[in-house]
């Protein structure tokens, strides 16, 4: 009568998992001026809101890690949030064999099994981290949309004033902060 042997292997893994989520969008800017002029107005507005410029891209990283990057020439907006987390994982792999001679091979297979489980667990940890980031980013989107709309409106208003100045002499500018309406009287 043969005896069954149980081979059990335990593996552990310490890893820093990383995840990122983000969105791309575009500022709706009316083509009232040349691309360069509009880019200048947008860059100036973004500077007042704490964006730092590197080449064509103005960016700002917030306290919670949300990074907003705006290409001032195209109006392309990218909002990203990345994070990392250290995880300590442990997994077991076990197999049954019928003879002692098979044990060495079984140990290797059990080790592979445990490592595969570890990789799966690392994948799950990465996905959980990504979901946390997604929820955090989602919570910020509404505010962010409001700010981006405000930037668009401000730049459009400034562009209108510049355009009006190019068309003739601006005699009167009336801005209603409550409704966002802008009235410009121009003598052509």
């Amino acid at each position: 009568m043969s005896r069954a042997y149980r081979v059990s292997v335990s593996e552990s893994l310490n890893r820093v998992v990383q995840a990122e989520d983000g969105l791309c969008s575009r500022l709706e800017l009316l083509p009232l001026l040349s691309r360069e002029e509009l880019a200048g107005l947008l860059a100036a507005e973004l500077a007042t809101r704490g964006f730092t410029r590197e080449g064509d891209v103005a960016q700002r990283t917030e306290a919670d890690g949300v990074r907003i990057a705006i290409d001032v020439t195209t109006g392309d907006v990218s909002v990203t949030l990345s994070g990392e987390q250290e995880v300590a994982l442990e997994a077991h792999g076990s197999l049954r064999v019928e003879s002692r001679q098979e044990m060495e091979q079984a140990q290797l297979r059990a080790q592979d099994l445990a490592r595969a489980k570890l990789e799966d667990a690392a994948g799950v940890a990465t996905d959980e981290l990504r979901q946390q980031l997604t929820r955090k980013l989602e919570g910020r989107l509404r505010d962010l949309k409001g700010e981006l709309d405000a930037i668009s409106n401000k730049v459009t208003a400034e562009a209108l004033k510049v355009r009006a100045g190019q068309l003739g002499t601006v005699e009167e500018v009336h801005e209603d902060a409550a409704t966002g309406s802008l009235t410009i009287k121009v003598r052509v």
Binding site: D21, L23, C24, S25, T134, E138, L141, L144, K145
Partner: protein
């Protein structure tokens, strides 16, 4: 009475279900199982098959919308009546491709992965295209549909892409505007006859989107829709047959009352924002395509009574008036809301204000 062998009877039953707009359930066993088909058919069976295809396809065309009394303006001439009153009887020619497809449908179990591919050479005739379209119609939404969508003969058929873009998986169509040329020949009788059916199909496709729970599925469907509509609209525009795109407005009209967020409400909150944003943008493919019809509508308004094409422009303005500028505006609002990642991905797409003017 014509006597046929049991295997011939199965093939004829399937042909009858396809051409006669039958239901999937009665022929499900024929499609799911493996059946022996004789290499040659008896003269009696061939006669019945020819009769089934000829009468069935005409009946299908009539039921798919040919029965409606329509008015169209072609080459400056207005025609009014049902499909068979507006066009001379078309010479339907089913090539051997149709028989190959029927044989393959019976021989291969369509629900088993790795069914033998359908290897048929040759360009389908318009009658073959109609038959392939009706095959897709029979299996639409069933486990057999992916097997058809994987076959090159279906993937090459422009009409199948136009009617069933969801059946072809994630690979976009390798079609260009010339693929629609045979369908636009001879007064485009086939496309005219299928207008009602195409409208039903596209409405059903859009209505299925809230049920899509996978961003990848939504992306695949939107990509296929965008590609096929872009090609189709190029083709009808080049052929001077913008009226053939009218089914899109008929499909869109009942949908626009719902908020834009409805298109993506099935996407799970656990999916990444980036994938949801891509899926939402793709979900707006159909609505974006309406933008092109809106531009055409504006062009038609600008055609003066002494310009060429005035009759045709007036006819289309009248046909599309039920959808109207308000409908186009609303479709654009929805498309913008879905494409603006900052709102669509977070499920916070704003409900556009009710359109003014003629209600879509």
């Amino acid at each position: 009475m014509t006597r046929v062998a049991p295997s011939e009877f199965e093939l004829l039953t399937l042909a009858r279900a396809i051409a006669g707009l039958g239901q999937y359930a009665p022929v499900e066993d024929l499609l799911r199982g493996r059946h022996l088909v004789p290499p040659r058919f008896s003269p009696g069976a061939l006669h019945v098959l020819r009769d089934t295809l000829a009468k069935g396809s005409m009946l299908a065309l009539a039921r798919c919308g040919g029965w409606r009394t329509q008015r169209d303006v072609r080459d400056g001439q207005a025609r009014s009546g049902r499909l068979w009153e507006r066009h001379p009887p078309p010479a339907l020619h089913f090539s051997p491709l149709t028989l190959h497809v029927l044989r393959w449908l019976l021989e291969q179990p369509l629900v088993i992965h790795g069914a033998m591919p359908l290897d048929v050479e040759g360009t389908p005739t318009p009658a073959d295209e109609l038959f392939l379209f009706l095959c897709c119609r029979l299996v639409a939404g069933t486990p057999c549909a992916p097997a058809l969508g994987a076959q090159p003969v279906f993937r090459r058929a422009a009409l199948c892409w136009l009617g069933f873009p969801e059946q072809f998986g994630s690979a976009p169509p390798a079609l260009d505007a010339t693929a629609f040329a045979p369908l636009l020949a001879d007064g485009a009788w086939l496309l005219e006859g299928l207008q009602l059916e195409l409208a039903r199909r596209w409405r059903a496709l859009e209505e299925s989107k809230p049920g899509l729970a996978s961003p990848a599925d939504s992306l695949a469907l939107g990509t296929a829709q965008e590609a096929v509509l872009s090609t189709f609209l190029d083709a009808v525009d080049a052929a001077g047959r913008r009226d053939l795109a009218g089914f899109l407005l008929a499909a869109a009209r009942p949908l626009l009352a719902q908020p834009a967020s409805r298109w993506v409400e099935g996407l799970p909150a656990s999916a990444s924002l980036s994938s949801r944003a891509d899926a939402a943008r793709a979900a707006a493919a159909f609505l974006r395509a309406l933008g092109r019809l809106a531009r055409w509508d504006a062009e038609h308004r600008a055609v003066r009574f002494f310009d060429d094409g005035y009759e045709s422009a007036q006819h289309l303005l009248s046909e599309w008036s039920a959808f109207g500028e308000a409908g186009f505006r609303r479709a654009e609002d929805h498309a913008r809301a879905l494409s603006t990642a900052l709102t669509s991905a977070s499920g916070a797409a704003p409900v556009p204000p009710p359109s003014t003017g003629s209600a879509p």
